[in-house]
Subunit: 422 residues, 2 copies
């Protein structure tokens, strides 16, 4: 080593500080990148290790009351690294089936999460035996790696919920030998833990929001089923026919998925039609038919004004699935593309299923006959493009038909509670 | 000024870098504090100004397609400061009624938000006239402050939505004279903008989630109304009676609010009861009564398995609001505190409203008579503590009764679509 003048030493320290600042700034800037949160956590762990000179580190995320490994880095033993999986949805819903540890005093990460308190430890193997802190040496025994100094910081969200743990292991001194983490290191890690918590919570909330919108749909479906003369199989089949047709039309994946989840709501407005009309075995009078037709308006009313796209989709479908391409449908006699594509797709799916199902006023027609009927009404009742996609999709349509064939009627008095599930 | 040696200069620079690092770390650490997001944005703006030596700055949040002022800081003119309001919910729902600016090319902040592109400007009054960038000098004219150099950074979330704008004005040089912002300054501001975007989005999502849970409840209520013989006024009154009783029982504010929003769902299971029983004018047979009583089980089924507390509340209420304190109720004949408090409170509210309302099988009884009836059944049908709170709350109960008195029956054929609103 050359002798350094004070100004050289200061300059070097300045440069190091600059690198540290940039590392922190880099993490900040990455917070909003449209990447899986696990990748962000991996990056965050890398920067935390750089800033604190930690040889190894781990991030856990809290799921179902346990801590799950999300990433692990170890400069001495890259064979122990766990890199983030790319599928963000699987991260959120769990599914690794991998290692978890309990949130309690049986491990240091568990302790930090349970007490929502960061730990700074000189040597994990040198904890006072009387202490509530217990280091779990099983991982070291498995791998032969020697954990010594540690920082264990819980990731705590704004409502004081633990969403994970950030753990740094073995600060290396200039000679590359494990030394103690400083109070300053802990401070840095806590800043990064704060960002990590926000990112994890953000990803979780996005998922919760999606599930919540779906939840509304499912509950309304459940409610609707108690009234409708049609079965949950009808709802499932129409949903899957819609998905299939949309796919064959070359619709974007999001739109196709929306069709699948929103179309089950197409008849929710039947909730508002009296039993005497809904369950009438014979032909409806003109007046009764008008009341029946109001189910489109009622459905749209139940679904209207939603902030989220899924329910907006469902509203469009409920309102327009009885419009006809030639403008002779109801409720608004919209012709062609005046009626939304969502409704035009559902119209084909719904009529096909009605034709192939037994109803109190008609037998079940054959698939061949029903498909011919749909084809015959191409350009009059139905959007020609939708019919073309439907005809192209025929093999898949038949697979759905077979898989969701109506079950023999259940004993209604025994099973009034019959949920649909996706 | 004294002459500095190189090492003194380097040390000073090192100290400055240390301050900068700590400022950034401080902002990171604050991200998860349980404080209104506006306060965090105010703090963030302060640190952004410190790090870039900006004399003034503004944060806007995007709301309803416009940018709304959230905070403003100006070291030269503290009379122009806008400090964050403390009520976080008002922040999220708007309500300042204050200044907004359009998201378009008519201002620099609007431009940055519209194009999702940060700007670094030497002098706002010296922009090429041919440029799409337009500085809006009206604020300067109003205040006499002279805007010169600027950084305008959009706050962009993970799905590339603009959630706001962070704007810094007039970088001061060592002599305190406005100078240009550096590329480095812009980089720093972008890091902070990223954090700001995440925080804002986080707060918005928390609010969206809450609204989404409420949305499920409201839509189910709307659906239920199409069937029930009872009116939306009944639902509103029961909701408000529950809120009042809970408050008089000294329940926590959250619990009280939950009661208010979840109790409207108590009869949602009537969706599953046939019209012939639901609307029968005469007395029900034993068998019909058993079917009618299933509305508790059906309601719980429609609401079951929710992740969110509001629907969990509603499920409990739907299931248990016909249990009795003496165990003679239905569906599970739960006695005393075996039945949840949510149901015990709703039971009193529901019966009181039934007594004071006209039904097809009974007239409306007077408030006095109904209250006496409730008091008489203290400890048999009803939880004594709930009845005591109800009796104490009598003046407020009467206010609700008067305010939500049943309206004269509407012409049903004209208005099949009759939403409830809160």
């Amino acid at each position: 080593m050359t002798t350094m003048t004070p100004s050289m030493a200061a300059a070097e320290q300045g440069a190091a500080l600059r690198v540290e600042f940039d590392a922190l700034l880099g993490v900040c800037s990455k917070l909003n990148e449209a990447r899986p949160v696990e990748e962000l956590l991996d990056e965050l762990l890398r920067q935390a290790r750089m800033l604190t000179r930690a040889e190894a580190g781990t991030v856990y995320v809290a799921e179902g009351g346990k801590l799950r490994f999300v990433c692990a880095q170890n400069d001495a033993r890259h064979d122990l690294d766990i890199t983030p999986r790319v599928d963000e949805r699987r991260f959120l819903t769990g599914g690794l089936g991998g290692k978890t540890i309990a949130i309690d005093d049986t491990s240091l990460a568990g302790h930090a999460a349970w007490h929502r308190q960061p730990l700074r430890i000189r040597d994990a193997y040198d904890l006072p035996p009387t202490d509530t802190l217990k280091f779990d040496p099983s991982f070291d025994r498995l791998t032969g790696y020697r954990t010594q100094s540690m920082i264990v910081a819980p990731l705590v969200d704004r409502s004081a919920q633990v969403v994970g743990v950030l753990q740094l292991i073995n600060r290396l001194n200039d000679e590359g030998i494990p030394a103690e983490f400083s109070a300053r290191d802990l401070q840095i890690v806590q800043g990064l833990a704060s960002m990590a918590a926000l990112s994890v919570r953000n990803a979780q909330m996005r998922d919760e929001l999606y599930r919540s919108h779906l939840d509304t749909i499912l509950r309304l479906s459940t409610a609707a089923e108690f009234r409708d003369t049609e079965t949950s199989q009808h709802i499932q089949r129409v949903s899957l026919y819609c998905e299939t047709i949309a796919r064959y039309m070359g619709a974007p994946r999001d739109w196709t998925r929306m069709m699948m989840f929103a179309s089950p709501m197409h008849d929710v407005g039947k909730l508002g039609v009296p039993d005497s009309i809904l369950q009438k075995p014979g032909k409806l009078t003109d007046e009764e038919r008008l009341i029946m037709q109001r189910h489109t308006l009622i459905g749209a009313h139940i679904l209207k004004g939603a902030e989220n796209e899924l329910l907006q989709f469902a509203e469009k479908i409920a309102l327009s699935h009885h419009e006809r391409w030639d403008g002779a449908g109801y409720p608004h006699r919209l012709a062609g593309a005046e009626s939304p594509l969502e409704g035009r797709v559902t119209a084909v799916a719904d009529v096909f299923d009605a034709l192939t199902s037994k109803r109190c006023y008609k037998p079940a027609f054959s698939v061949d006959w029903a498909i011919e009927e749909i084809a015959k009404n191409r350009g009059t009742q139905f959007d020609p493009d939708v019919v073309d996609a439907f005809l192209k999709a025929r093999p898949e349509i038949e697979v759905v038909f077979d898989a969701y064939r109506p079950a023999p009627p259940a004993d209604e008095s025994q099973t009034p509670i019959n949920p649909i599930t996706y």
